[in-house]
């Protein structure tokens, strides 16, 4: 009995060296690859996707990022230092545009969004341009240069972009006055008529098609 126990102890001792070596190599690799390096992990728990208030939910519609469903609610900080919550805009037609300054199609379509907002804001249009994961000062510089007068929200960790199942930028959701997504547009808007300037092109673009749907 004692012999068997001693043999077991011996085996454990023998196994310890290779096991410890493997563990040391694994830890070193983990440490080199994944160690926390500080910065960038800002706590943003308060912001991101939030539950839709029960008073705004409807039993016959689910909450999902697709046409015909209620738009998932979110709370995000804005460039103005405030916060925007999608459900607070209920009663207005909302264009949620996910974008980034590094995305050429986003840059290309932004003047169209600016012009559309100027044209339809009095009819109850809200544009929420959700910037995905960029520094605030870079976003601010771009917003000022392109004259973005609508709400620019900052989705720093991409949580809202993930909740909306984005595959690429730009992606635009058209949410009607009841909070229902009426149209999802992936990619930049096409101007359907050639030979028009930015202002004139609004009247003939895919963007206007979506806006008219949600302002009805």
């Amino acid at each position: 009995m004692r012999g068997s126990r001693a043999l077991k102890g011996d085996l454990v001792r023998r196994a310890m060296i290779p096991l410890l070596t493997v563990a040391a190599i694994a830890f070193t690799i983990w440490w080199l690859e994944y160690r926390p390096r500080g910065g960038g992990e800002q706590a943003l728990d308060a912001y991101g996707p939030v539950d839709l208030p029960p008073s705004l939910a409807t039993p016959d519609r689910e909450v999902a990022p697709r046409e015909g469903a209620l738009a998932p609610d979110f709370l995000l900080p804005t460039l103005e230092g405030k916060a925007v919550r999608l459900s607070d805009l209920r009663g207005k037609g909302v264009v949620i545009n996910f974008w980034a300054t590094w995305c050429p199609p986003c840059r290309k379509e932004m003047p169209q969004l600016v012009a559309a907002y100027q044209r339809y804001r009095k009819e109850g249009l809200e544009v929420v341009a959700v910037n995905v994961g960029e520094p605030e000062d870079r976003v601010r510089q771009f917003a000022e240069e392109f004259g973005m007068e609508f709400t620019v929200a900052l989705d720093k960790i991409g949580a809202v972009a993930r909740a909306y199942s984005l595959l690429g930028l730009p992606t635009t959701f058209f949410v009607d006055r009841q909070g229902v997504i009426r149209m999802v547009h992936a990619g930049a808007f096409k101007e359907q008529k050639e030979g028009l300037g930015v202002q004139e092109a609004i009247g003939a673009s895919e963007l206007e098609e979506g806006i008219l749907q949600i302002l009805r």
Partner: protein, 562 residues
């Protein structure tokens, strides 16, 4: 259960067997050699049948009719073949099983060595040193310890035995070599499964994401804040560098300077500077009424288009009326291998039509009065002529960097696009480079961007200049450099380092720090030392002086005394 146990034991015996290990290793080495000698399917073609067909078509020219057979046998894609992976797995399993089977013996050999060999060994050992005398054990022990031996004194009053052991752990050298091979194979597997690499082309001041998916959990952005280069007199790059800022989740997480040999690192990713292109133009288009930007891009001028460099003087006053490169419209094929490109130029208050005819290694510039085409002169590079009171000189026909931009807003809406061409291009403008300034195209002076397609004549802008056309303002902010950044992540690098280190350690243990064991028997006046492990060592030379100091005369010396 017993069957499974027996089967497991058989498998273990098979894997442990040195014969099979040699066969597996030899077969894998031969296959790897085939993979090195024969051309292998490049990564870009893997998984794409059309690319594979095209690549095989190319190989048929080299390998002949054997190509389809080699492909079917998998010899043209050896390292991606499942059977190669299976072979490697078998080799690793064999190495692991063999190493594992050796562990108990090795452990005992290192930590519980035989300290007391049979007496007969002292008479038969090939490495033996004999002598006579009353040995001072204390001197012997101290001397051996000074030579890094671990010494133990054993025996009884009649016979004293000494056991000395040096570098016992060096016995693990071969085991380390086996482990190193396993680690290296593991590194290859990890590298294949986890390695990531993506090229990014980024202009100065621009930002690009690392992953195509915007909300990728490990998304990062790379901004090239500055790029510069040093060039020789011919415009060839000698050295280039860039400053990068890396952002994650909206925060700057790293900022560093990169060169070709010193990448930037963040979060396990390396950002290598892979290329440098000095030709880019940063352009902004604004609505004149609101001052709002509707276009702001750095355009890569990737084309090289002919740009006649012209000088023109008013003949009456001798005033220089024009100097610079002219941007030409799209070339039109005019038959017999010739092309013609057109431009309209205002010089000395009049419009001139320019036609550049190129082909068959020659080029001629035709200059005509735009309102009276019958009045024209034809100039070759270096020639001059007078026409309509203007003295013309065609200095040279150079290639200028250019691009056709389709999405730049124009007052007339989206047409076929604008032609952008930059003259007075220099590697080394104040913004692009701090190194040796080398003018590549055009003459002295700052870069000039020519926009063709905004009306009937070209618009030339220097850095910071604004041209208003219709409701828009066009601003050329300056020449910008583009850099190629290669973002890589390869966790196997650390495994490769670990494997290489283990391999070096095993070599060091095996060749430079071999284990050495000595046994000494002191029986009366007879002293005998036997040794194991010191192949090629002269026991007499090494231990002779120590034995003499301990009061022992070596056998040869004893015989000489007799």
């Amino acid at each position: 259960m017993a069957y499974v146990r027996r089967w497991g034991r058989d498998l273990f015996s098979f894997l442990v067997g040195p014969r099979w290990a040699v066969i597996i290793t030899a077969v894998m080495a031969a296959i790897a050699l085939v993979g090195v000698v024969l051309p292998q399917l490049p990564p870009w073609a893997a998984g794409d049948p059309a690319s594979v067909r095209a690549w095989l078509g190319e190989q048929e020219r080299r390998l002949g009719p054997a190509t389809p057979w080699l492909w079917r046998l998998g010899l043209l894609d050896v390292f991606r073949a499942p059977w190669f992976a299976a072979g490697l797995g078998l080799m690793v399993a064999s190495l692991l099983a063999y190493s594992f089977s050796r562990l108990p013996g090795l452990y005992a050999f290192i930590f519980r060595p035989r300290k007391w060999p049979p007496d007969v060994y002292f008479d038969t050992a090939p490495q033996r040193l004999e002598g006579r005398g009353h040995a001072d054990v204390r001197v012997l022990v101290q001397g051996l310890r000074r030579r890094l031996y671990r010494v133990e004194v054993l025996g009884d009053e009649a016979v004293t035995y000494l056991f000395a052991d040096r570098f016992p752990w060096a016995h693990a050298g071969t085991l380390l070599a086996h482990v190193a091979v396993v680690v290296l194979v593991l590194a290859a597997a990890v590298g294949r499964a986890e390695a990531f690499s993506i090229p990014l082309m980024v202009a100065e001041g621009q930002v690009r994401p690392v992953f195509p998916t915007p909300a990728h959990p490990r998304q990062m952005e790379v901004e090239v804040t500055r790029a510069w280069a040093r060039f020789d007199a011919q415009g060839l790059p000698l050295q280039y560098a860039a400053e990068l800022a890396i952002f994650r989740r909206g925060e700057e997480v790293a900022r560093c300077r990169v060169t070709v040999n010193s990448p930037c690192q963040y979060g396990g990713y390396r950002f290598h500077l892979a290329a440098y292109f000095g030709f880019g133009a940063e352009v902004v288009v604004k609505e004149a009424s609101s001052g709002r930007a509707i276009y702001h891009e750095t355009v890569a001028l990737q084309m090289q288009r002919p740009a006649p460099y012209l000088r023109a003087w008013e003949e009456g006053t001798g005033r220089l009326a024009h100097e610079g490169a002219v941007a030409l419209g799209n070339p039109i094929a005019t038959g017999q291998g010739l092309t013609s490109s057109l431009a309209l130029l205002s010089v000395a208050g009049r419009d001139w039509a320019l036609v550049l005819r190129e082909g068959k290694g020659e080029a001629t510039l035709l200059i005509a009065d735009a309102h009276d085409l019958s009045r024209a002169v034809a100039l070759a590079p270096g020639e001059g002529a007078s026409l309509g009171g203007v003295r013309w000189e065609l200095v040279a026909i150079q290639k200028a960097p250019a691009a056709v931009v389709a999405d730049m807003p124009t007052p007339l809406g989206q047409g076929e696009g604008l032609l952008l061409q930059m003259s007075n291009v220099a590697y080394g403008t104040g913004n692009v480079s701090q190194g040796g300034r080398v003018a590549v195209v055009g003459g002295e002076g700052p870069p000039i961007l020519i926009l063709l397609g905004l009306g009937d004549r070209p618009i030339a802008l220097q850095g910071g200049e604004v041209a208003r056309v219709g409701q828009y303002e066009y601003i050329f902010l300056g020449q910008r450099a583009f850099v190629g950044i290669e973002v890589r992540r390869d966790p196997s690098v650390h495994l490769v380092w670990a494997g290489a280190a283990l391999l070096v350690l095993s070599l060091v243990f095996t060749f430079w720090l071999p284990r050495r064991r000595l046994w000494a028997r002191l029986k009366g006046e007879e002293v005998c030392i036997v040794e194991q492990g010191g192949t090629g060592m002269d026991l007499r030379r090494e231990l002779g002086p120590l034995l003499r100091r301990a009061g022992v005369s070596l056998r040869q010396e004893v015989e000489e005394d007799d």
